[in-house]
Symmetry: C2
Subunit: 351 residues, 2 copies
DNA sequence: CTGAAAGCGCTTACAG
DNA sequence: CTGAAAGCGCTTACAG
């Protein structure tokens, strides 16, 4: 069927040199006469030589040491609990290749802790890093250090344009907001009010919430049929009580509200309000398949969740680092994960 | 970090035998004294020995020869055009392992051709087969031959319970019908009529259309709010004109129709009718991201498409065959692909 | 600047 | 029944 692969030995014979010399040319480790080098390179090109990866790995026993730096998954931030699974799956799938992964986590509310942990990462002298750049300025400092050390790094869950990242795998935030807009537009009647909720201490600092909001609004601007009022609510304190109170106030002020878009993963804080008041006809849509969110989705309290496949993000991140290190393969710089539309009927496929 | 892997050499030293003997025990090729065997097996267990895959592949140079047998993609059946891409991706990803894939296609309308092609497959003496069992009785015959030859096979796009398949990767048809039901229920008003369309010459023979219909109806039986009439239409002739005429007749008989569920991938035959008549408020939902379907989705003529990731089906099928052959890994027998809900706003992520 | 040799962990064919 | 040796394709250290 396929032609037998040419080996270094063949190249050597064709060029009239020894395999050692071929290897020196291949790996550009010098000490080869110009004329010899040219001859070998010519043969290499003609034969389209590619190395036998099996033999390379077997011989070199070089093991890639990767490090991930992601927020710790906590009760309040359980979005992060899926990320390690994707990394584990990537390592397992690449099992024949010697590779280690050190998972370092930081407190998502604590810049100082992040900073400290970046030092731990550097101390491990990794061959590649997977990173969620939650804190922008601290991340920039860290990335420039990585660059100086020539360590490639991949972003998940967000990216910082000004850095020299190898790849980003994650959501198209603007687009996902548009999808949310379209879904609400489809299920509501023509002119009902829409409540847009952000839960964040420091809203202006949370890029993905803002970008999703913009996408959401742009849908109604461009093509929405529902011309109802948009009501904006920012809740700085994420305690269950304060969320309930804040939502309650809005319904008093605007009894015409028929749908709620929450820009983050905390629809589980809003659902109890709707449940208690028996407001079954209000359409709630939010993000991420946290256990509590799924519970309210299945119970019919919230209508849609939008998923962003956290596990797939880290899986692909590790793969890309590996392929870059092992084969020198340059990945697509930005790979958007599909925006998944999830209802009570298809949610089981995604968890 | 991780302990150095034990090698055959280590096992040999610990057991007080030579590496040749260890190998004989490992591969159960006999010619080992019982006592020796027991000793070696004990050490093997203690050390949790696993072979170095790299060295195995390098040495044996054994190449797996896989064959796929899928319908040919034609203008009328372009659903099948994505399947080869998934296989190509799998082969590429497994590139370091020597493997060949022969892609054989058959005429989806011709049992005899299928039968003939099964012979071609067998003649290739494959190590594993990927198969879409479109024709049930012919597939059963073929599968029993594969079984007799000890050739593992994986189904995509449907499976036949009575055969000894290694794995199935594909849709949960009943569940996907339920999802369609839920979507229509969400976007229509309480009591409007729903048209359920099947396009098939021999409807009773087409399992997936029937199963999807059942799932669809079960949604309304269990939890649907829309209590409108369900109107069933089967169109045996799939020419654009006859579809248009058939749909037109139904609307005359039932002017209350506000939504259409087509159980297969030919929503592109129904959309032109709605477009011509300017029936923008009728909700059309169908299957599969064929170019023409996507066109009507983006134009706002159809509301939802349900996707079943054909590329991922074949990708995973090839992977499972490989892992079974290379590592003897027994896969999950039935792996359902997620039911994707696709609108004009998120469709670009899926094509 | 170049070649010959050893060795990565495994499998296979052969000798005893 | 068992062991010693060759070799898969590559890399590395050494001799010249």
């Amino acid at each position: 069927m396929s032609l037998k692969k040419t080996r270094i030995k063949d190249i050597a014979a064709l060029s009239g040199v020894s395999i050692g010399t071929v290897d020196r040319v291949l790996h550009k480790r010098g000490e080869v006469a110009d004329k010899t080098r040219q001859k070998v390179e010519e043969i290499l090109k003609e034969t389209k030589y590619t190395p036998n990866v099996m033999a390379q790995v077997l011989k070199s026993k070089k093991s890639f040491n990767l490090v991930s730096l992601l927020p710790e998954s906590t009760k309040d931030y359980s979005y992060w609990e899926k990320h390690p699974l994707g990394m584990a799956r990537a390592i397992e799938e690449l099992e024949p290749f010697p590779m280690t992964l050190n998972e370092i986590t930081f407190d998502i509310l604590n810049e100082k802790d992040f900073q400290k942990k970046t030092e731990s990462v550097l101390n491990l002298k990794p061959d590649g890093v997977l990173l969620a750049p939650i804190f922008k300025s601290e991340s920039i400092v860290f990335c420039s250090k990585l660059k100086k050390e020539n360590i490639p790094f991949v972003f998940v869950d967000g990216y910082i344009e000004e850095t020299s990242f190898l790849a980003y795998i994650g959501e198209d935030m603007f687009r996902s907001g548009k999808v949310a807009g379209q879904l609400i537009d489809m299920v509501t009647t023509k002119n009902s009010d829409i409540l847009v909720v952000n839960i964040a201490k420091n809203l202006q600092n949370v890029l993905h919430l803002n970008t999703r909001t913009q996408g959401f609004l742009s849908y109604f601007k461009d093509s929405g049929k529902n011309k109802g009022k948009k009501i904006y609510l920012n809740i700085p304190d994420s305690s269950p009580e304060s969320v309930k109170i804040a939502i309650g106030k809005e319904f008093q002020k605007h009894p015409g509200i028929r749908s709620i878009f929450i820009t983050g993963s905390r629809s589980y804080l809003i659902a109890p309000f709707l449940e208690e008041k028996g407001m079954n006809s209000v359409h709630l849509i939010g993000y991420d398949l946290l256990d509590m969110n799924v519970k309210y989705l299945k119970a019919g309290i919230s209508r849609f969740l939008i998923g962003q496949r956290p596990e797939e993000q880290t899986f692909k991140g590790i793969r890309k680092l590996f392929e870059y290190l092992a084969y020198n393969k340059i990945p697509e710089k930005i790979e958007y994960i599909p925006v998944d539309i999830i209802t009570s009927e298809n949610v089981d496929f995604f968890i």
